[in-house]
């Protein structure tokens, strides 16, 4: 019984570890400035937790086999514990866990506490059941006013986000169903939701943020590779949650300018 148990625990441990090490299923290739930092912290955490995982499971398996009861087994070592050991592993785990945490903190801080770089492209993301809309403020760099009373989701586009077309600042606002971003330029994102909570998640951009009704959440990030990336809603938002899907097209600055100019032209 001890042998069978050890075999099973070891097998589970080694098979589980294999797929983590082989990266059969893994983080998608990153395409944003934060990728390097985040993936490095991921790797560090994986190595440390992986070692602890292997050590704990393999010794668990070994101990249950080694100290199985049998007529020839050694007598039990009568002991109520060891205070030195308790203090040692308490201190070691505290240093390990808290240290690991502090190492990752600067990434979080630089992304969230610092303002976006100058010249960042402004985009407003609006989530609603079950679609994403993207608004660009246009040449004036100002978003026009929106009002919930003007919202008509069934009409799509400007009406869906409730754009007040009488506001001068709204004249040049562009509202689309697909997101275009210039590569290597910071994005100053505003996130809103009109009905329930949604979450804007782009795995390749290592970016996720809830969009919450009543809040206008500002975030910034920088895409660093041209490509098309899928947006998946990551907060349960109702029966169509699984198909609340969108696309981010990261293109060259030139293509981005052309695309935006074409949208402006369509609007006139």
């Amino acid at each position: 019984m001890g042998l069978a148990l050890m075999a099973l625990i070891w097998l589970i441990t080694l098979v589980s570890t294999y797929f983590f090490v082989a990266k059969t299923w893994w983080l998608p290739v990153g395409a944003s400035a934060a990728t390097a930092w985040i993936d490095k912290q991921f790797a560090l955490t994986f190595v440390i937790m992986g070692i602890v995982f292997l050590a704990a499971q393999l010794s668990l398996g070994y101990i249950v086999w080694k100290y199985r009861d049998s007529p020839s087994a050694a007598p039990v070592q009568y002991s109520h514990g060891n205070n030195t050991l308790e203090v040692t592993w308490t201190v070691l785990t505290t240093i390990l866990f808290v240290g690991l945490n502090l190492m990752g903190s600067n990434v979080w801080a630089s992304q969230r506490f610092d303002p976006p770089e100058a010249g960042a492209v402004q985009v407003e993301v609006t989530g609603m059941q079950f679609a994403w809309y993207f608004r660009y403020p246009g040449p004036d760099g100002k978003y026009g006013k929106t009002s919930p009373n003007l919202m008509d989701p069934s009409a799509g586009g400007e009406a869906a986000v409730g754009l007040n077309t009488t506001d001068p600042a709204a004249k040049d606002d562009v509202v689309t169903g697909t997101m275009y971003l210039p590569v290597d330029r910071e994005v100053d994102l505003s996130l809103r939701a009109v009905d329930v909570i949604h979450s804007f998640f782009v795995p390749q951009l290592r970016f996720k943020q809830d969009a919450v009704p009543g809040l206008n959440i500002h975030m910034h990030f920088k895409p660093t590779a041209i490509g098309e990336y899928e947006i998946a809603c990551a907060e349960l938002c109702g029966l169509g949650h699984y198909k609340m899907h969108g696309m981010v097209h990261v293109v060259s600055q030139e293509d981005f300018d052309k695309w935006l100019a074409a949208r402006e032209a369509e609007k006139q």
Binding site: T45, A74, H80, G81, E86, T90, D210, G238
Partner: protein
């Protein structure tokens, strides 16, 4: 010591007073246990329907027909809610805590037997309300067990958000009241009804775990009750605690000025301690069983007690780690994150001490021990994914992906269930006077352990690859389609593992009537429940008040006549 006022030496004779509206903590414990057993089968059935729908979205199932996306979400909501409240909170604490705690401290019953009966029947009413949500117009709610408003607060936000959602919230509110009554009873009983000599530092670790769980329940369920009442008011009385100006389904709602984040703070202030409410009793049972079957004292008894106390203490300060992506201030993430990592420390201490307990022991592999060892393995595996999710910067990628259900199912789901299994196989002889079948128990264990890992390890991989949670199907997002083979494997693993649970049920009911008669102390254990008759008489000790002379885990004592010293053995047996 005080005694409960309503305990009589002889049990009432009428069927209803003896088995239905009983005041006997042992009967009430068994009632809780069977309520949880029925709930776990409902919860498992829902999960298997979900897994089938994820892989074959258009499949037409016998009895159920085709599962629609909204039905999937209703199944998911009810699976989570039923499992968390009516299984993981009910069986370890209401079931085993009720049955065993008074006996282990040498008391004739709980401190308030009538309150005890009331808390069980209140739980039962809550359970009926929960099940009723399936059968009303619109069906069960689809807002998930976390019930985030505005989705959960507005009737037009989706199917099931009408009467079904009201029943769901009402059920949880009633459950909170039941749990508060139970918590008061457990705390009072532990503090006031201990037998002579049963000092706090001689309490079995199971009693400590139930005691600390009760304190957590007392502090947490009151908050959830309040949050639930506010949500009901938002839905039905025109208030706006949680809902700002919103347009749902093309129409403006009447709400203005509420905060969706308020619910998240209140919910997780309950929700995180709830994790420990589910797992702490499992830790207690694992400690008890590992010591008994290793024939060795528990390693670091005091460290174990302090670890549980600090887990309970820190458990109330980490709720924000569920909200890193919620729009909450990013500064507060630092505090929540560091405190969450701190909770890993007492968890690690417990693991070291469990390994230390088995080290140089003489391990007997009866089924309760197998489950306790499985508990340790799952606790390690589920625990080690915690430090990923606790780091806000990694949570950006992992939050609301399959990595999260992988993490919490391993630790608060299956590890806690392994605690319940260990407890069942361990105390069954005392509760029903018969032994369970060892061969069936072992087969059940090996399939369940392997199956559990086969289900939940791949979910970590899927989460890393970006598989979002709560998706009824993977057909609409291109990168998710690539993960369908992995999910198909999980579904097959789930079907096999759930099928294996019928081995347990057969063993349970067959042994109840046909198992070999159990002796008073079949495991050669030391705590007070093994000093009395099997099953124990109505007042637990047949008119005798036990006197405690020893700590709870005196195994392998040098110079003692047997390899174990019962807590009631005369002090002269050993020098300790």
């Amino acid at each position: 010591m005080a005694t409960p006022a309503t305990v009589h030496a002889h049990a009432p004779q009428g069927f209803i007073r003896k088995y239905i509206f009983s005041l006997d903590h042992k009967v009430i414990g068994i009632q809780y246990y069977f309520l949880a057993l029925s709930a776990v089968f409902v919860g498992m059935l829902l999960s298997i329907l979900m897994r089938i729908h994820m892989i074959w979205p258009t499949a037409v199932l016998p009895l159920f027909g085709e599962i629609k996306p909204e039905t999937y979400l209703a199944l998911m909501t009810m699976h989570g809610t039923i499992m968390v409240f009516f299984v993981l909170t009910t069986a370890p604490q209401g079931g085993f805590g009720n049955y065993v705690l008074p006996i282990q401290i040498g008391a004739p019953d709980m401190a308030f037997p009538v309150l005890n009966m009331l808390s069980f029947w209140t739980t039962f009413v809550a359970y009926m309300f929960m099940l009723a949500a399936f059968f009303v117009v619109g069906g069960a709610p689809l807002h998930g067990w976390t019930g985030y408003p505005p989705l959960s607060a507005i009737q037009s936000a989706g199917p099931g958000e009408g009467l079904g959602a009201d029943l769901w919230i009402t059920s949880i509110a009633i459950f909170c009241i039941a749990s508060l009554m139970g918590a008061l009873n457990f705390i009072t009983t532990t503090l006031d009804l201990r037998a002579k000599g049963m000092t706090m530092m001689r309490l079995p670790l199971t009693v400590w775990s139930w005691f600390i769980t009760a304190i957590l329940g007392l502090l947490a369920f009151g908050v959830l009750l309040t949050a639930g009442i506010l949500l009901l008011m938002d839905r039905n009385l025109g208030t706006s605690f949680y809902v700002p100006t919103t347009m749902v389904n093309g129409a403006m709602t009447w709400h203005k000025g509420g905060s969706p984040l308020l619910w998240q703070h209140l919910f997780w202030f309950f929700g995180h301690p709830e994790v420990y409410i589910a797992i702490l009793p499992g830790m207690g049972v694992a400690s008890q069983v590992l010591s008994t079957f290793s024939r060795k004292p528990i390693f670091g008894y005091r460290a174990m007690v302090y670890a549980m106390l600090s887990i309970g203490f820190f458990g109330f300060m980490v709720w924000g780690h569920h909200m890193f992506m919620s729009g909450m201030s990013p500064y507060s993430a630092f505090a929540f994150s560091i405190l969450t990592m701190c909770i890993g420390v007492p968890s690690a201490i417990k693991t070291f001490n469990w390994l230390g307990t088995m080290y140089k022991g003489r391990i007997r592999f009866q089924t309760p021990m197998l489950y306790a060892i499985g508990f340790v393995s799952l606790f390690v595996s589920g625990g080690l994914s915690g430090p990923f999710l606790a780091q806000p910067v990694l949570d950006i990628q992992l939050h609301d992906t399959a990595f999260v259900p992988a993490h919490f199912h391993l630790i608060m789901g299956v590890a806690a269930i392994f605690g319940i299994f260990a407890a069942t196989y361990y105390w069954f002889p005392k509760m029903f006077g018969r032994m369970m079948n060892e061969t069936l128990g072992r087969i059940h264990f090996f399939i369940t352990l392997a199956g559990t890992y086969a289900i939940f390890m791949p979910m970590h991989y899927a989460g890393l690859a970006g598989q979002t949670r709560r998706y009824s199907q993977f057909t609409e997002v291109a990168y998710l389609q690539k993960l369908i083979p992995l999910n198909t494997f999980i579904t097959y693993a789930a079907i096999i593992t759930i099928a294996a649970q019928f081995i347990f049920v057969i063993n349970l009911f067959w042994s109840m009537f046909k198992g070999p008669k159990a002796s008073d102390n079949p495991w050669e254990a030391t705590t007070l429940e093994w000093t009395t008759a099997t099953p124990p008489p109505h007042d637990n000790f047949g008119g005798v008040t036990p006197v405690v002379n020893h700590g709870p885990y005196e195994y392998g004592v040098p110079g003692a006549p047997k390899d174990y010293v019962m807590q009631t053995d005369p002090a002269s047996v050993t020098a300790h």
